[in-house]
Amino acid sequence: MTIELAIRLTEIIMGFAFAQQSLEHLRSSSDDRMIFIPRLLLSVLLVVGFYSVWVIGLLMILGLVMLNRYQGPYNGGADRMSLLILFCLCIASFSPDKNWQELTFGYLSVQLILSYFISGWVKLVNPQWRNGQALLDVFRFSAYPVSESLRGWVKYPRVLLFVSWAIISFELIFPLALLSSTSLMIALLIAACFHLSNAFIFGLNRFFWIWIAAYPSILWFQQRIFVTI
């Protein structure tokens, strides 16, 4: 995959993710609509590739306006990943030098790898995760399960212990997937299924779309590093 194709694919998927997020805000107050109607229009322009460089710049400005409006991210990690991708696209788009483009997209792909690896590491060092209690607590009393019936999973502690270790193991070994393009494709497929299940069970739909938007960067990065080696 060329850097140009990776950038374009990221623009398209991120444009779709931003459009989806913006649509959800159209029922909000008029103040919020002042932000999200332009954001929706810019997202559509980004998907179709109309003056992408300037569109990305304007989306970055709107991203900062949103940070100010909500005094932080609206949707935690999903908004932070949105800003990270947007920032990297901004640098890559405004930079005339291909080395800068590669450096920025390399940074994005390293952050994507870290998003899995560090999440796995912080769980591994926590005994509550290692014995399954943490995931039991998520289902038992956290605000995340989308229905009361999902809290019924606490009746299956062994299943949740297995799931805990499956998550920790996958997140920790994710960086090894870069060893070949096939293993990377498989790992990304598993990761996408993981985000999809989080979206279904915990209602984290924005995480799914925005993490997928970062995948072209790692597909490019894997080829760039390992083909060069």
Partner: protein, 151 residues
């Protein structure tokens, strides 16, 4: 400007420590009062989750999930109110409760409601038991006007 950079930096250099520790979980509860500040609806959970959500509905929420995402944002506001209290977080929660009451999303509201207040109840596990602790209670505000109505 400095404040904006403080907000932006965690996105550019993220920590990625998702769910590292399962912290006490906030619930927003609200109460409705009449003009004489008499409680006409006692503490109720704001936007309680449904008993069951079908797989088809979960699939649909991949594309359209505004209420849940707003509830997650309000959870963030609730956590911020405890960790580093700001008027903004309190205003954001009030605004949504007021909107729901005015739009009559909640059922069976008494007709003479004039004011509202909310509190934050944090749920945590101690041993095998779940414990609830009220860690914040707001001022009373008019349901019609946004201004604080001290009593």
């Amino acid at each position: 400007m400095k404040y904006d950079i403080t907000l932006l930096l965690p996105a550019l250099i993220p920590s990625w420590n998702f769910f590292d520790v399962i912290v006490p979980s906030p619930r927003i509860q609200f109460s409705l009062l009449n003009k004489e500040n008499k409680v006409v609806k006692d503490w109720s959970e704001f936007r309680p989750r449904p008993t069951h959500v079908s797989v088809w509905k979960m699939l649909g929420r991949m594309f359209w999930n505004p209420d849940w995402n707003e509830s997650l944002y309000l959870m963030s506001c609730a956590e911020r109110l405890i960790d580093y209290p700001t008027q903004h977080s309190e205003d954001e929660i009030f605004r949504r409760i007021k909107a729901d009451v005015v739009e009559n999303k909640e059922n069976n509201f008494p007709v003479d409601i004039a004011k509202v207040k909310f509190r934050l109840v944090f749920i945590r596990r101690e041993g095998k038991q779940l414990k609830e602790e009220v860690r914040f209670e707001s001022q009373v505000r008019s349901i019609i006007n946004e201004y604080v109505d001290d009593d």
